[in-house]
Symmetry: C2
Subunit: 447 residues, 2 copies
C-alpha cells in the first residue's frame, strides 16, 4: 500500500479518486492495480457489504461478518491504492476537487463516482423508521431484531394469557428484495414455530407482500413472475399486486384505503439515488441517477465516470439495470478506459454483458432468467442451486469461502439458530400501540 | 417444550422460576430437565453470552454469533421448560410472586435468582458512555467500533496531513478482563499496523493499563501476577499499578492527579451486582450481592436460591469468586437440591470445586493457576494452549464447536480481518474535543 501522505506530491502519476466501495468501486480499484496511477478510495464505511446476501442476515441465517469484509482487507495488497474512511460531501468539478466531510479538499485527475442508491419512500421519509429497508448491515440487524422480537413478544403473550395478537409481517415492494424477504420470513417462521415457539398459533402468523404494479418481479419475464407467485403461495405468503401503500403508522399501514395491522413492516420499494450526483451539479434523472453517455461520462466531463446504481445509462434504448452485475462490469470498464487513456488508445464504449438475473424464494426455490451460457427460464429447486453456486462464487475475497460454505451447509441442513440474536433495544415499535383494551387489563392476574 | 400457557394450572407439579440465562441459570435449567417440575426461565435477552470470549468480539477476532446462542436454541429440547423473554422488576416473596416488566405476576414454588453483576463506576455512572465496560454483545461491538474507528481516523489524518494525534488506548482495571483486553489490543494493533494502516506511526500508538491496587490479577498467586506483567510488557503494554482513576472526560482521563489523553477508554474495574437482590428485599452486601448460607439460600428463605455472581457465599471463610466455574456449579447444585426435596432427602451443602483460573495475554500467552487435576502455576504459551482447550470445550451447545474451532484456527493462522466491521455511528466521542488548533486550521489546504 502506498505510504505517502496525500500532501506530498506523487511524482507525475495521475490520481484516480474512487468514491464508494461497493461492487463498482471495488472492481474499478482492482482494475487499476497494475496501472501507473495513484488510487484513493473513499468510503464512509470501513467495509464492503455483499448486498445480494444481506437478506440472509436480516433473516438470521448468516451473520454480518459472513457477508461483509473490511475494504482494507479486500484491497490490502494493492500497492498503488490508499483507503480513506470519509464521505464526499461536495466538490468543484471545474477545479477537479472534491470536498470530504472531515474538511479536506481532495484533487483528482479522474473521478469515479459509485455511491449507489437506496430505497425510496416516495417523499415520506418518516416511514423509514417504521418500515426499514435493507441496504446496510445495520438495516439487516435491525430487521432481524424486529422479526425475532415479534416472535418473542407473541410467545410471551401466549404463555402468559393463552393467546396472542396476530403476527402480521408485511413486505412492501415485489422486486427481488421484497420477494426474497417474504419467502425467507415464511421459511424461518415455519422452522421457528416448530422448534422454538410452541405457543404461537400458526394460523395467526401471516406474511403479506404488496406490490404497486400489476405483477411481481417486473423486470423479469412474465412466466417467471407467475412462477414466483406460485412458489410464494406454496410458502404461505399472501401476494397482492396493484396495491399501493398510502400510509404507514406504528402498528399498521393503509393499503388501497384499507387498514392492515402489522407487527413488522419491511420496505423494498422504489429507487432513490445517492444525492452526490445532484450535489456535484451533474445532470440527473428524476430519481437522482446521473445521466451518462456510452462511455459512462456525464456530458462534457471526460474525466468523470459514474458507475453502478448511480449511473443512468441506456444501451439500445434500454436502461442498464441497477444490480450487481452491471456495477462490476462498469467498474472494470472504467479502469480499462484509464488504461486506454494512458496508452494513448481510443476509448471504447461500455457494453453490458447480461448473464441474466436470479431471485430466491425461500430455502429451496428461486427463479432464474438465464441469458448466458444459454437462454433459459428456470424456477424451483434447480434455479435455487444455480443461485447458490453463483453467489458463493462471487463471495471471492469474503472471509474464506470455505467457512461460509460450511456455515451455509450447517445452517441449511440443521437450521442452526446461532445467528438469531436480538441485540439493541428490546422494544418493538408498534407492538403496544395496537393492543386491545382487554390485553391491557389482563396484567393484574397472577399466573 | 411445555405448551401450556401459565394461566392454566399445571397438574400438581411444582414451579421453578429461574431468573437469568447466564452460566448459573442455564446449568440450573439443564439440571432440572428430568425432574417432575415445571420450569420457567425468564431472561430479558433472547441469548446466552459466553462471557469469557466476549473480549474476542470486542477485538474483532470472533463475531457475536460465534459466542452467543439463543436460549431457546440451547434449551430447545427440554420438555418441562418454558422460556419467557422478559425482566423481573420486583416481587412479593411472602406470597411467592415475582413481577415481570410486561405486567404479569408470576407465582413460584422455587425461585432461582441468577441475574449476575456488572462493572462498577464507583458511583460515576456518567463515565460509562466514555469508558464502556464489557458485559454484553452490544458492549463488545461498541468497543470494537471505537478501536477500529480510532485506527481509521488516525490513518485518515496521517494520509491527509502526514501526521496524526497520539493513539492512546487506556484500559482501567487490572483483573482478568482488563489484562485480556490490553493484551488483545496490543496484538491486533501490531497486525493492523502491519497489514492495513501503513500511515499510522507505531511510536504514537500506546496501550496503557491502570490498576488501583498494588498488583494486577489480585485474585491470582503473586508469581502469576509478575508473569502477567512481564508478558504484557513484552507486548508493549504499559502497566501502572496503584493508579486510581479520578475523572473521565471526552478525550482524556485523570489518574493520580495527572491528565492522560486517550482516544479509546475501556473499563474493567469494580463489581456491582444486579439490583434484583436489593429490589426483592433480600440481605445484600455493600456491592449488592445477596448474602446466602451454605445451601445458597438467603436467611430464612428455603425456597429461594441465589446463584452465580449475584451470590455472596463464603466457604472456609473465603468468598467464592464471581466467575464462570462456581456459577455453573451453583446452578447444578440448586437443581440437585430440588431433586433432594422432591425425594424427601436432606439437603446437602454447596461446595465449590475449584479447578483454577486462567487469563490470556494476547494471542500466544496466558497465565493459569491450576488446582485440578494437579496444582501448578503455568504461564506463557502452554498456559495459552490450556486456556484455548478449556474454552472450546465449554463452548458446548454453541453453534457447532467445529465451526468455531475452524474460525479460530483460520483467524489465528491468517489473522483474518472479516470480523473487523465498524457498524453504527461513524463518530468517535472525544476525537474532536482534544484536537490542536493547528489541526482544525489545516482543513483549508487542497491535497
Amino acid at each position: 500500500m502506498n505510504s505517502q501522505p496525500l500532501t506530498e506530491q506523487q511524482s507525475s502519476r495521475k490520481r484516480v479518486v474512487i468514491v464508494g466501495g461497493g461492487f463498482a468501486g471495488l472492481h474499478a480499484a482492482k482494475g487499476l492495480a497494475h496501472l501507473p496511477v495513484e488510487v484513493v478510495l473513499v468510503d464512509r464505511r470501513n467495509h464492503h457489504t455483499f448486498q445480494p446476501l444481506l437478506y440472509q442476515v436480516a433473516l438470521a441465517v448468516l451473520s454480518p461478518a459472513d457477508i461483509a469484509q473490511p475494504i482494507r482487507g479486500i484491497l490490502g495488497g494493492q500497492k498503488n491504492l490508499q483507503v480513506v474512511m470519509d464521505e464526499v460531501v461536495g466538490g468543484d468539478l471545474a477545479q477537479s476537487i472534491v470536498y470530504l466531510k472531515s474538511g479536506l479538499s481532495l484533487s483528482f485527475d479522474y473521478l469515479f463516482i459509485a455511491t449507489g442508491s437506496t430505497h425510496s419512500y416516495f417523499g415520506r421519509d418518516d416511514w423509514a423508521a417504521l418500515a426499514p429497508g435493507l441496504k446496510t448491515l445495520e438495516d439487516a440487524t435491525e430487521i432481524r431484531r424486529r422479526i425475532l422480537l415479534a416472535f418473542e413478544l407473541a410467545e410471551r403473550q401466549a404463555i402468559e394469557t393463552g393467546d396472542h395478537r396476530p403476527l402480521n409481517f408485511v413486505v412492501v415492494g415485489g422486486g427481488p428484495t421484497g420477494v426474497e424477504l417474504a419467502g425467507a420470513i415464511s421459511d424461518i417462521s415455519q422452522y421457528m414455530l416448530k422448534q422454538d415457539f410452541r405457543h404461537i398459533k400458526r394460523d395467526k402468523v401471516r406474511i403479506i407482500l404488496y406490490e404497486g404494479l400489476p405483477r411481481l418481479l417486473n423486470a423479469y419475464p412474465e412466466d417467471l413472475t407467475q412462477s414466483a407467485e406460485r412458489q410464494l403461495k406454496n410458502l404461505g405468503v399472501e401476494v397482492y399486486t396493484n396495491s399501493r401503500v398510502e400510509d404507514v403508522k406504528p402498528g399498521y399501514l393503509v393499503v388501497n384505503k384499507q387498514r392492515v395491522d402489522a407487527v413488522v413492516m419491511l420496505w423494498g420499494a422504489g429507487v432513490q439515488a445517492s444525492p452526490l450526483g445532484k450535489t456535484l451539479g451533474l445532470p440527473v434523472d428524476n430519481k437522482g441517477c446521473v445521466i451518462v453517455d456510452e462511455f459512462l461520462n456525464p456530458a462534457g466531463r471526460k474525466n468523470i465516470f459514474v458507475l453502478g446504481d448511480l449511473a443512468h445509462v441506456e444501451e439500445n434504448g434500454k436502461r442498464v439495470p441497477g444490480v450487481a452485475q452491471p456495477a462490476m462490469q462498469m467498474g472494470d470498464f472504467a479502469a480499462r478506459t484509464i488504461g486506454d487513456d494512458l496508452a494513448g488508445r481510443a476509448r471504447k464504449k461500455f457494453h453490458y454483458f447480461d448473464k441474466g438475473d436470479m431471485a430466491t424464494i425461500g430455502r429451496h426455490a428461486a427463479v432464474a432468467d438465464l441469458k448466458w451460457p444459454f437462454h433459459a427460464h428456470w424456477s424451483g429447486f434447480f434455479a435455487w442451486i444455480a443461485w447458490a453456486l453463483v453467489h458463493v462464487y462471487f463471495l471471492i475475497g469474503f472471509r474464506n469461502r470455505i467457512l461460509v460454505l460450511l456455515q451455509w451447509a450447517w445452517t441449511y441442513f440443521f437450521f442452526s439458530r446461532s445467528a438469531r440474536l436480538i441485540t439493541g433495544d428490546q422494544n418493538l415499535v408498534g407492538w403496544h400501540e395496537n393492543v386491545e383494551d382487554s390485553e391491557k387489563a389482563r396484567t393484574t392476574a397472577v399466573v
